[in-house]
């Protein structure tokens, strides 16, 4: 469903809110993908 915007303020609030939610998804999804990508790498001891 398309949202009607009457002011720039409304447009920015709407799009920014969705963008922030997507960034939250990215912050969770990308580390998970990295764990999948490196899951079978040889473990290096860093201590």
């Amino acid at each position: 469903m398309e949202t009607d915007f009457f002011t720039l303020q409304e447009f920015m609030t709407h799009t920014k809110a969705i963008a922030y939610l997507l960034i939250g998804v990215a912050l969770v999804a990308l580390p998970l993908f990295w764990l999948f990508l490196t899951g079978r790498d040889d473990k290096k001891k860093t201590y």
Binding site: T3, F11, H14, A19, I23, A26, A29, L30, L37, R40
Partner: protein, 390 residues
Amino acid sequence: MNQAVPPGKTLLTPFNIISGIILLIGGIITILRFTQGIGAVTNLDDTNPWGIWIGFDLLCGVALAAGGYVTCAACYIFGLKKFRCAVRPAILTAFLGYALVVLALHYDVGRPWRLPFPIFVSQGTSSILFEVALCVFLYLTVLLLEFSPVVFEWLNWKGARYLIGKVSMVLVIFGIILSTLHQSSLGALFLIAPSKLHPLWHSGYIAVYFFISSIFAGMSMVIAEHMLVARFLHDKIDAEHNIESNTVALGFAKAAAFLMAGYVMIQIIGIAMDNDWKYLGTGWGLWYLTEIVGFVVLPAGFYAVGVRERNVKLIRWTSFWVVSGIVLNRLNVSLVAFNWQLPLDQRYFPSFMEIMTTVFIITLGVVIYKFIVVRMPVLHGHPDYPDDHH
């Protein structure tokens, strides 16, 4: 120096015959282009002033030549010396790629004697095109200098080889800065045309899209290129390069997969920022999703599986998939989704001679690449410099 044609071997190989015919046709079209004008060989007009010579030869050429700065950054800036064997082939590909981009630009712009004008005579400092021209001019010079140790080793000019080796790090850093600038600027060129480029491809972030996609394009090109040379020029590759190429494929595939995941995320965020969701349900949206899902999400998954399973063969085949995805993206931005609102009869489709010119330029690149790697220490080390490939 190696002999290109050993005694008893003929020059009339299928490769030489086919490439010779293409070069001949290209030569004829070149004469036509520069004697009869651009209208005689192209379907370009005032509505569609940029055709495949810009969309393919320039945009794809520059993106796929990104392997040079990506490999140099990995090896010399991030200190990943395990990728050292990929540096010389990547720099050669980048140098030839950029040189052919400049050559292709001559066909589009015409009047080659005025090529130095934008840099030395009339600088349009407020134009993104000026920045692109300056970067390509400087980066092509840097690539020539970065590749010169190979030529000096081949010619056995030890003094020049020693001197250029002393400034190689400066060249690498300068090359990366220049690449960062113009890879993104090629995308920024389209910022000026929000009414012409379809909203799904046009975004305020298009410069970032072009830059990030150039990184995984360059990595994929390095992987794909090794597969091709291992198939057709295997006798020119030494054992060390062969072993290290698997490390390069695994390392670059891992980095490319993660970058592609990030690229997809910023594409989605770009759609959200412009509120372009409504277009996804249209035919254009389906084409956009084909590009993003079919040529970024899926190959990123295949890269990830290839890295986890240590399946270099899967990674190499996937690299061709990614390369074709980058070509599709650049063609979509510059041709397919450009002027999308025009009726079909006013849309651009390249003429036969435009396509043949592009084939001619690619063939020229392949012939020069082969000429160089057969003779110079690109895919194998030079005996006088056993520990130094660059």
